[in-house]
Each structure stands twice: as structure tokens, then as C-alpha cells.
Symmetry: C2
Subunit: 300 residues, 2 copies
């Protein structure tokens, strides 16, 4: 396993002069209502509900795998001489698509990162490592999975000038993390949070497998994600209704589960009566070793 | 039917002072290669492959309907006092989702727009009109479909300060149009082209029904879309591989059909051997009247 300190050397590539000088205006907040129901405050209206505004320096692509409704994210610093890139939550089935896009765009894939040990699909990390030399696999230390780089709270993954900070958000699984872009002026504005299954758009991941805990998830989302600026863009690992993005402000106001008090949330999560995850016995063992394509026995 | 001239009165709401002062830097173009194969030029790398950079003024959301792999787009001018909004290519099945989002975001839906008479799903336009008073349905005059507003080449749809220009792009159907955001400094940078089924990401719509013509489609894409600035974002009506966005520059270089010469393109389109569109006999009659929910007889 590589040591994080070694990888952080790439942060020396950071150049404060490279960023695109764009900052959303700071609008004064004012509450507006529809039918006497408050909606998002005006400042969030003006700034929040948009796509990332880092047009000329950072590349961002959202990709979708239909069978498991999984989003994979491609980020790159296209101002970096080698156009360093990271994939977040790649899927084995779509590795060739992702690599074709990376090739077309002239990027160099450095990291293949997972938000957690997925139970509904096999990660593409192992295949990416076998197809592109030098790719570094990343997952949380708390996941107990194997990877080249095991991250924990406070660690930073550096891709060109782009920084992804690691926030521990357990509850869906014991090792879930959220990756959020840095807070500096050379970072995407608004910030972008890749929330995995901890926070979904108007939902959240189930908590009944893999060390899941509804109490833990409630604490994670409220302390780690809802504490981010309201305009922070929320890009989850899945969506089942066709939404592509939300914001912290929107989820704090409209998430039907996480806007409730903790006891109500726990009750909701304990009464979901969801089916046994059909892929879990294949996906979890594979994903504990970064999705390497060795034959994996299933338990049923 | 409303007259376009009446609707254009809303363009008087345009205020040149309202825009967010962000312009991507103009980078000099320089060709780079991988394995001696040229990839996108540097200026496109820096500017093209990103999401729209109009964070503080315009809202943009991409929405997906899984059964027909259709993208619906929500755009709004959130600096407008009433936050005027437009939906492009809404789907009947997801109207409630879209209206819930519009309500959450505090927007006022003004237009429900179609790029063409769809054959694979029923448009949500009719349902939107029945659920939200004042919504104006829009489709091209050349489609011969019914709508409140029939647009043709050179027309502009104005939503707050946001302008959508109408480009005729027939070939998939006789009445296909592309809506592209305006070219002014108060418009999204890069421009955004909603290409319907004329240009898909690394593909294009079939040309064997509804007045389709491969020769016409080739001419449309090359003259109307490929002539836009290379950094223009391409948001199509569908994607079947999980891509969410492309650029004119990317498609000019990597589209496997439309990079070919015209005769090769015609040959490709004439030999696709696609199945008969399973929804066409329901969808087309419904969509010729904006998807109004009257019972529609099917021919088989």
C-alpha cells in the first residue's frame, strides 16, 4: 500500500495563479414563500441550483450505469500539464466507456476512488488498474477493504490542483466516506460533495447491512454534510428517479427522511422492508478487494 | 395559438446589467497528440468539457426518464423576479417529479418545449398545461403538430434573460429543431445546445420514420450544430450508454457516424436494421397534439 504522504507530494503542483477567477456573487439572504411555505432563501436560489462553475480549469463529467442506477464521476484538472484525472465510483460494466472518454479527452487517470464497499454492483477499480498502469485505488481505511491507498478523516486526495477532502460518513456501511472538493479560491465554486450512499437526492442509503446503523447515518449526514455551505452541490452514487444533482440547502429542506428528528429517522429506516440486495453476495466480496476479477464464490 | 411576437414582449425584461460577469479565458489553440493521434486542441480542453458556467444567474438541471432513456432539461433565470423557467422535452411519466422540483426551487414554469414529435415516449407537455395554468407549449411549425407556439428558424424563446434560439435540424424527423442558448455576454458560457435526436453523444437519431432523411440529417448537423463554437455543450434528448453531456468539438472529432463523409453516413443509416419503434403508434399521435391525455387509438 502506498503511503498518503508520498502521494501528497503531487500537491506541490498546486499553483495559486492557475485558477479561473470566478466567484459567485454573495447575495444577501431573503426568505421567500409559496402558499406561506418558505422555500430556499434567495441567496441559495441565486447560487445553489446550478452546475459547477469551474469551466475553464476543471473538467467534470457525470456518467450513469443503468442496471444499478450508479453514477460515476470523472474529474480532472485540465490546466495540469498531464491533465490528471480521478474516477469516483467506477462500475466494472462501464470501464471501457469511461476509458474511451478519458482517452478522447486526453486525460491521464491517476486515481480510482470508491466512496464505500458497494453491495449492488462490482466496482471498476480492479479493471481500471489492470488496464491503465499506475492507477491508484482508493477506499476508506474504515471499510477494511484492500486498496493502494486507505484514507481517513482529514486526508486529501490531490489531482492536479483539485483537492478532494475525506469526510467520514458511516451509517449506510461502516466505511462510507464523502469526498468534498476543497474550500480554497482555486477550487470549484460551489464546492462539490460526492456523498456516495450516505446522502441521496431526497433519500439516503439503507442501513440494514455491512455494519449499517441508522443512528450513525443520521449523525454523519447532519454533522459532516449538512454542515457544508448550503450551495454545495450534492452528487450521490445513485439516483433511482432521474435526478442528477442536488444541493446541501435543498436536502436540508426537502429530504423526506433526513429533515426528520433522529428518532423518526431511525423508525423510517427500520421499517423500509426492503428486499435482500440481489447483488450483495457477489459484489461485496469482490469490492472488498477493489473489484479484482478473480472468481468470487457466492453464498446462495 | 399565441403569436411569437406577443411572447417576445418578455424580452423587454432583459437587463444587460443582470448577468454574472464570468467569461472563460480565451486560450490559444494548440494541437496535442496521444500516440500520434491528435486529440482535442488545448483551447477546447480548457474550456469545452465542463458543465455550464452560469452559476449565479441561471439554473440548470438535467433529468432522466429511464424507460425511454430520455433527458428532460429544466432551465430558469433565477435572477428574474418570478424565476421564469422552461422545461425542454418533458416526459408524461415524470411530470410530477419535475413539478415537485420546480416547486421546491421556487420557479415559475412558463414554457414546455419539445425538440420534435417523439416516437418513443409521450411528451409531458399536455399534462403540464393541465396542471400549471399559463404554461405555453412549444414545438416547431415544421412538425405539423399542435402547440400554443409554433417556432421556426431564427425565432427566440425568452425565459427571463435567457434566450433559446431555434435552429432547424430536420432529418431524424421532418420537424426537428435544436434550441441553443444565445450568444450574448449575459448568456451561459459556453453556449448550450439542446439537440434533441438530431445529434446524440457519439450517435444520432434514426432516419427511417416521420419524414426522416439521412441526407437531411447530415446537412442539418453539419450546417447548424457543427458550425457552433467547439466549446458549445451538447445536451441531447437521449443517451443509452450513460453519457450526460458532450461538446460540439468532441462530436466533430469522435462521433462515429457524423465524422464520416455524407455517402458513408447515408450508408450507415440505411443499414442500421433497427426494430420497429415499439411506442411509435401510441406516442406519435399523442405527441402531435402535445401529449394531451385523450385516448389515442393504436394501429396495431
Amino acid at each position: 500500500m502506498l503511503k498518503l504522504q508520498q502521494l501528497r507530494i503531487s500537491s506541490s503542483l498546486l499553483s495559486p495563479k492557475k485558477f479561473c477567477n470566478f466567484f459567485p456573487p454573495k447575495n444577501p439572504s431573503s426568505v421567500i414563500t409559496i402558499n406561506n411555505k418558505p422555500i430556499l432563501n434567495l441567496s441559495s436560489q441565486m447560487v445553489f441550483h446550478t452546475t459547477p462553475s469551474h469551466a475553464s480549469k476543471y473538467l467534470f463529467r457525470q456518467l450513469f450505469e443503468k442496471d444499478s442506477s450508479t453514477y460515476t464521476y470523472l474529474l480532472a484538472d485540465v490546466s495540469h500539464p498531464q491533465k490528471h484525472a480521478v474516477l469516483i465510483d467506477p462500475v466494472d460494466k462501464t470501464v471501457d466507456r469511461d476509458l474511451s472518454l478519458i482517452h478522447n479527452l486526453g486525460l491521464k487517470l491517476i486515481y480510482a476512488v470508491n466512496t464505500h464497499v458497494h453491495a449492488d454492483h462490482v466496482t471498476g477499480t480492479g479493471m481500471l488498474k489492470s488496464k491503465v498502469s499506475g492507477v491508484i485505488s482508493v477506499i476508506s481505511k474504515a471499510s477494511n477493504a484492500k486498496a493502494d491507498l486507505l484514507v481517513e478523516s482529514g486526508d486529501r486526495i490531490v489531482v492536479g490542483d483539485l483537492v478532494l477532502e475525506v469526510l467520514p460518513t458511516p451509517g449506510h456501511t461502516v466505511g462510507c466516506v464523502t469526498y468534498v472538493t476543497g474550500d480554497g479560491p482555486d477550487q470549484p465554486q460551489p464546492r462539490i460533495a460526492f456523498t456516495g450512499d450516505a446522502l441521496l437526492i431526497r433519500g439516503c442509503g439503507r442501513t440494514d447491512f455491512q455494519g449499517g446503523s441508522s443512528a450513525e447515518l443520521y449523525k454523519s449526514v447532519h454533522s459532516q454534510i449538512f454542515s457544508l455551505p448550503e450551495e454545495t452541490l450534492v452528487y450521490p452514487a445513485h439516483d433511482y428517479k432521474g435526478f442528477t444533482v442536488s444541493t446541501v440547502g435543498e436536502e436540508k429542506q426537502y429530504n423526506p427522511r433526513l429533515t426528520k428528528d433522529k428518532e423518526t429517522f431511525k423508525s423510517i429506516m427500520e421499517n423500509l422492508n426492503l428486499a435482500y440486495p440481489k447483488m450483495i453476495d457477489v459484489a461485496v466480496p469482490a469490492n472488498m478487494v477493489c473489484g479484482l476479477q478473480d472468481p468470487v464464490p457466492t453464498t446462495h
